[in-house]
Symmetry: C2
Subunit: 210 residues, 2 copies
DNA sequence: ATATATAATGAACATTTGTTCATATAGAAT
DNA sequence: ATTCTATATGAACAAATGTTCATTATATAT
């Protein structure tokens, strides 16, 4: 067996394809999909428009590819990211870990772009809504619900509807993430937002602990 | 003095102008501004495209007019709406009143359209961001903060950072409003969402009451 | 009833936009 | 070095889009 597998990842074509996606994400997230032209994309990539069609069937397929990336993005896998969450940690530490992960994601450039894409296309694109609902919302709420339910069984927290609690926990995190992206859009300072993630956990934990 | 003031509100032109705005709001909020064509608008209004230009300088001016409507919309004036809020009521009743107003707004058709317009244009339109930040966010958060601060003075609730509390109170309301608009988009049932507004107040009040 | 101001129409326009395709070029395999 | 495949280019296209304007129709005031 020889080792010279012709890995596509190093081919010229693969590099431009990756570049097209990166530049498109940047453009779609800042101007919106409809307002971005294929000429915009080509210019950003440093290539003529016709070259794009060697890598994607059309403009829509570029969006579709990016939209599918949402599934593998950070928020969709917030419970998988890092080793800590939901394994070793318990109680408040667990919640703090989730919140901190959320905070880091909110300040991550790539993720910020995906988030803005999500928000801007969620009403126009059914697939985006599907992914948001299934992978962003439901997965995380269900997972947290069951963790909270466990804590109730172990008398670590007060008895309550776990689904309501999970919503109450995530809503501010989502809200803060949105606020951060809006502040950045206007180049406002986001330093005051940093502490909000921990303060939320403090507030939340005080309410649910037994 | 005669009474036959020529009220513009009853003129033919005023009616179509109002209609153009109504149809444009419906279209912008469902397809997005950029994806809506002047032919779309004209068709919805039941008029030829050229007629639009008797009432608005161009397509942008239609959007601008709608955007300014955001300021006089319900969320921007949540504390003014109804007689109850912040006047007679105190403590939990006050919070419940705000939350209920928010719920009613979330289910109001006109407001839902404005909300969707806001969300879709907030990253592209600086004026939208300005209005959101000033009239939606800051006004309400400051007002609630000061009300909460009063409650702290009167030992009705525990001492805490009023700004944090205001954020924690509004974030889930905003989140639920967004969820409702998304559910409606997919024609999913929103009946389960109704109770969330009250449950949020229960949860929140339990945490802050002394 | 006639004149006047207001609003709607039809047709056209210059741009912009997404896409195609024949041709040229570069990189990899032989 | 030559062949072959993958990628990039240039030019062109049809369709869509925002806007204009001369003309016609409609309502209101005289």
């Amino acid at each position: 067996m020889s080792i010279d597998v012709d890995l596509k990842e190093f081919s010229r074509g693969f590099k431009t394809k990756k570049n097209i996606l990166a530049q498109s994400l940047a453009l779609f997230s800042s101007k919106g999909f409809k307002a971005t032209t294929v000429r915009d994309i080509a210019n950003s990539v440093g290539v003529k428009q016709s070259a794009l069609y060697n890598h994607f069937k059309n403009k829509d397929e570029i969006l579709e590819t990016l939209v599918e990336e949402l599934m593998t993005s950070a928020i969709a896998n917030i419970f998988i990211s890092k080793d800590n969450v939901s394994d070793r940690l318990q109680g408040k530490s667990l919640l703090l870990s989730i919140s901190t992960t959320f905070k880091l994601i909110s300040f991550d450039i790539k993720n910020e772009a995906l988030f803005k894409l999500l928000i801007q296309e969620i009403y126009n694109n059914e697939r985006v809504r599907e992914i948001y609902s299934e992978y962003f919302y439901q997965t995380n709420v269900k997972k947290l619900s069951s963790l909270l339910f466990e804590m109730m069984q172990n008398d670590i927290i007060k008895s309550n509807d776990p689904l309501i609690l999970a919503n109450e926990f995530f809503a501010p995190l989502f809200f803060y993430q949105m606020q951060i992206s809006l502040f950045k859009q206007d180049k406002k300072s986001t330093s005051a937002m940093v502490s909000l993630f921990e303060k939320h956990v403090d507030f939340f934990w005080d309410n649910i602990k037994s």
